[in-house]
C-alpha cells in the first residue's frame, strides 16, 4: 500500500479536468472586455497549463511556463496596459466570424498533423533513435551534470544557446524600452495622474 495504485485512472481524470479548465479559461478570455480580468485569466491559464505539463512528465517545459507565463508575462502585460485603455473595444459579430474560421482551419491542420506523429513511447521514433540516445548515454561521462536538458543546452549546443540568449536579451531590451519602465515613464505617469486620476 504505497498509495500509487489506481494512479492511471486518477491521472486520466486529472488530464481531462485540466484540459477542460483550460478550455473554460480560454473561452472566458475570448469573451471578456475588461483587460485587467484578461491579464489575470491569462496568468491563471499559464498556471493551469504548467500543471498540465507536469502531469504529462514535461517538467522542464513546466518550469519555463511557470517562470515566463505566470511571472514575467503578467508583469509585461500589466505594463502594456498602462499605455492603453482599460477595456477592449466590442467586436461586431460579423467580423468575429473570420478569426473563428482561421482557428478552426488551424485546428484541423494540427489534428491532421498528429496522425503522422509516432506513438507515445515508441522505441523506433526519431526522438529515441538518433542523437537523443547518444546524449542520454554520454552526458554522465562527458559533462557530469545530472540534468540532461541542461547539458544539451549549455554544452552540446552551447553556441546555439548563446545566440538564443542574445536574441532574448535584445527582445527584452526592446520591450522594456517600449513600455518605459525607466525614468521616462515616471514623468509620463505623474503628468497623467495630475490631469485626471482614475479611481
Amino acid at each position: 500500500m504505497t498509495g500509487y495504485e489506481g494512479a492511471d485512472l486518477a491521472i486520466a481524470l486529472i488530464n481531462v479536468i485540466l484540459l477542460g479548465l483550460l478550455f473554460v479559461v480560454a473561452i472566458a478570455i475570448a469573451r471578456m472586455r475588461s483587460l485587467f480580468a484578461i491579464v489575470m485569466l491569462s496568468g491563471i491559464y499559464s498556471l493551469i497549463s504548467a500543471t498540465w505539463f507536469v502531469a504529462l512528465d514535461a517538467v522542464d517545459v513546466a518550469f519555463t511556463e511557470a517562470a515566463v507565463g505566470a511571472g514575467i508575462s503578467t508583469a509585461l502585460l500589466l505594463g502594456a496596459m498602462l499605455l492603453t485603455s482599460r477595456t477592449a473595444k466590442p467586436e461586431k459579430r460579423s467580423t468575429a466570424i473570420v478569426p473563428l474560421l482561421v482557428v478552426i482551419a488551424v485546428g484541423c491542420m494540427l489534428v491532421y498533423a498528429t496522425i503522422d506523429l509516432p506513438a507515445f513511447g515508441d522505441p523506433d521514433s526519431p526522438a529515441n533513435t538518433y542523437v537523443g540516445t547518444a546524449y542520454i548515454e554520454r552526458t554522465p561521462q562527458d559533462i557530469g551534470v545530472p540534468n540532461i536538458v541542461t547539458a544539451v543546452l549549455a554544452s552540446y549546443r552551447g553556441f546555439d544557446t548563446l545566440g538564443e540568449v542574445g536574441v532574448v536579451f535584445a527582445a527584452a531590451l526592446a520591450v522594456i524600452l517600449l513600455l518605459g519602465f525607466g525614468e521616462r515613464s515616471l514623468s509620463a505617469t505623474i503628468g497623467r495622474k495630475d490631469k485626471g486620476g482614475r479611481g
Binding site: 500500500m1 504505497t2 498509495g3 475588461s34 485587467f36 482599460r86 482614475r198 479611481g199
Partner: protein, 122 residues
C-alpha cells in the same frame, strides 16, 4: 521493538494519504467560503484557511509519504515559503483594497448570500 516499527511503517503511508485528503478537503471548504462570503475582505479570511490549515495538513501528509529526506526538506522549504509569503500577500491585498477605498461590509450577516453589493472598481 521491531514489531512497533513494523506497525508504524504500515500505518505511515495510509496516514499520509489520509492527511493529504483532509488537506484537500479543507481547500475545498475554503474555496466554498470564498464563493459564498459577501464581500472582498471576508473572502480574504476564507482564503487564508487554504493558505494555513490546508497547506500545513497536506504538506505533513506528503512528508509522511516521502521516500527520502531530500523530499522532506523540499516540503519543509515549500511550507516555509508559503508561511512567509502568504500573510505578506494577503496584507498587501487588503492594504491595496483599503487604500483604494473599498469599504468592507460591517455587522452581522444573515441570509444575504445571493446579494452582491459591490461594483467594478476599475
Amino acid at each position: 521493538m521491531s514489531e512497533i516499527l513494523n506497525v508504524i511503517m504500515t500505518i505511515k503511508p495510509i496516514l499520509g494519504a489520509l492527511l493529504c485528503l483532509i488537506g484537500a478537503g479543507l481547500a475545498v471548504i475554503g474555496t466554498v467560503g470564498v464563493l459564498r462570503f459577501p464581500d472582498f475582505y471576508t473572502r480574504l479570511h476564507a482564503a487564508s484557511v487554504t493558505d494555513t490549515g490546508a497547506a500545513t495538513i497536506a504538506i505533513v501528509g506528503m512528508a509522511l509519504l516521502a521516500p527520502s529526506w531530500l523530499i522532506v526538506f523540499k516540503l519543509a522549504a515549500i511550507w516555509l515559503f508559503l508561511f512567509l509569503t502568504g500573510p505578506t500577500g494577503s496584507h498587501a491585498l487588503a492594504n491595496a483594497a483599503h487604500t483604494a477605498g473599498l469599504q468592507p461590509v460591517i455587522g452581522r450577516q444573515r441570509d444575504r448570500a445571493g446579494e452582491s453589493d459591490s461594483e467594478e472598481a476599475s
